[in-house]
Amino acid sequence: MSIDQKTSENIMKNERLPDLGLPQGGHYSVDHDPDDLWGDSRVIVNIGPTHPAMHGALRMVAKINGETIEKSYCEFGYTHRAKEKLGENRTYHQFVVYTDRLNYCSALVNNVTYAMSVERLMGVQVPDRAVWIRMICCELARVIDHLICVGINAVDLGAFSFFLYGFHQREEAYTLIEKLCGARLTTSYTRIGGLMADAPEGWEKQVKDWVKRTRVVIDEMDALLTGNKIWCQRTIGVGIMDAKLCQAYSVTGPAVRAAGLNYDLRRDQPSMFYKDMEFDVPIAQNGDVFDRYLVRMEEIRQSLNIISQCCDRIKKGPIWADDKRVRIPEKDVVHNTMEGLIHHFKFFMTGFEVPPGEAYTTFEAPNGELGFYIVSKGGPAAHRMRIRGPSFYHFQTLTPVSDGLKIADMVGLLGSMNIIAGELDR
């Protein structure tokens, strides 16, 4: 039996630990001679599940030598809420609220993608105004998600004020979303075949003003951090996810674009009105933490471009599809007619039926490819509701990339991957 195994066994059983005045736990391994600090200084540490540097309840068990991670494995599932099972036992309408809690940094993208996938199954056509509002929502959510990702990544590596610049704009964006649907974080804004409510009067103008202000702030943030010597030294060449690794591990989104693969579902597989939009897909070459940061910053700018184009082209009009199967009856009809009341009751108690069939619908979420694979066998609930979150496949690359890194660099790598536990565990 090697020394390593002995050490780990002792940690597990927590026995034969001499009293050194240290807290008794997994963090101290004193199986070897206490004076011989460098003979075998390998220890096993638990990073997480509740650790400020692990974004969400993620756990990494690492065997470290000094500060270097030699070998590690990851565990998650601490926020598993059985969303896929719930999807099979709730009606399609009821499941909208569960989609908020997937990637809670960009809840609107999940709402929109879910609504799109059920509409695809049913062949429902959404009116133009609803699609434009959905596009603005998606890009707002993308800006919010990227701001929090680069901000927190910088905080983890010691740059605090950068994060506050971004957070101010993020709060303002949340206020815009609040005006839209009354909620800031868990929006539940879309409905199958439409939207919860129309945007209030003058909302588009407020969004455009916000875009103008945010453009300035993004340039300020860029000037503050991008050339910063400490930031560059901490991020350039650290945590390299190259194109080959990205292909092998099904990595998508900004991470794959930072590795030099020119691939964006908004452009390559356009849904909604993205084919009419003018925007660039930023790509970088090296796939390190710095490149992912650069790609995210540029994507924020491109998203702002898309938002202002949408605000210019949006017109007044209906927000509900003209389809009685999915449309929630108006309140005055419900309260004043018998048929309306029955319709309302049947809609919320039984739910609408989706014809049998299956479809895998994807959209470019801020993190990468978000997909809903829905199998319907008829009836008001799905037979199988598979949610393909990008974080699930991204998190798998943490172990192969971080083995050999310093612990502090692993923290930077994890921050730049933007793992969201809600989407990872579902």
Binding site: V61, Y73, F76, E84, A248, E358, Y360, G371, V375, Y393
Partner: protein, 189 residues
């Protein structure tokens, strides 16, 4: 719109763009692998957005490998690997959602299996299949032959039952007072 009027579905909306390509690819697969291709469901003829290719479990790695590397296919991106519980024998379908980044077309490959029969693992083609297959094992109890580390992934290692099976009870508790212990064997080189 009258509620009884049949609504046109989207099935077949991509036929204009990829229909010819898919027909050619399915033809090639049938010629090359013969009996290993059990059934092909085409959009519009069946209720699906992209073609579904049912493959024999024993030949799945050959077929996926061919689809990944052949110049006419290049489905190099495993978009998703999951399973469905069909409630009739053979019970499970393992589903591979593939994407070709060159043509941006998608196809779906399925394998029929049940509790006893294992499906060969796809890790040799895509390392991404590692955790996806662990999740399928965790949630459905489908075994993958040749998988190096088929542990539970979302549930606790001491959990009993496979939650996404259709006969799994919707209520009940399994409470573990102690956290999951570190497994030192996973930290050997």
């Amino acid at each position: 719109m009258d509620i009884n009027t049949p609504v046109p579905t989207i099935y077949g909306d991509q036929l204009e763009k990829f229909g010819e390509l898919w027909k050619k690819q399915v033809q090639t697969l049938k010629e090359k692998f013969g009996d290993a291709i059990e059934e092909v469901l085409f959009p519009k003829e069946a209720n699906t957005d992209v073609p579904i290719i049912f493959v024999q479990a024993a030949r799945i790695i050959d077929v996926l490998g061919f689809m990944k590397n052949d110049a006419g296919f290049e489905y190099g991106f495993l978009a998703d690997l999951t399973a469905t519980d069909e409630e009739s024998a053979p019970r499970f379908h393992v589903v591979y959602n593939l994407l070709s980044r060159k043509s941006m077309s998608r196809v779906r490959v399925k394998v029929r299996t049940d509790e006893e029969n294992a499906v060969p693992t796809a890790i040799s083609l895509w390392p991404a299949a590692n955790w996806a297959e662990r999740e399928v094992w965790d949630m459905f109890g489908v075994r993958f032959e040749g998988h190096p580390d088929l542990r539970r992934i979302l549930m606790d290692v001491r959990w009993e039952g496979h939650p996404l099976r259709k006969d799994y009870p919707l209520r009940g508790y399994q409470i573990f007072p102690t956290p999951e212990a570190i497994d030192p064997s996973l930290l050997n080189y």
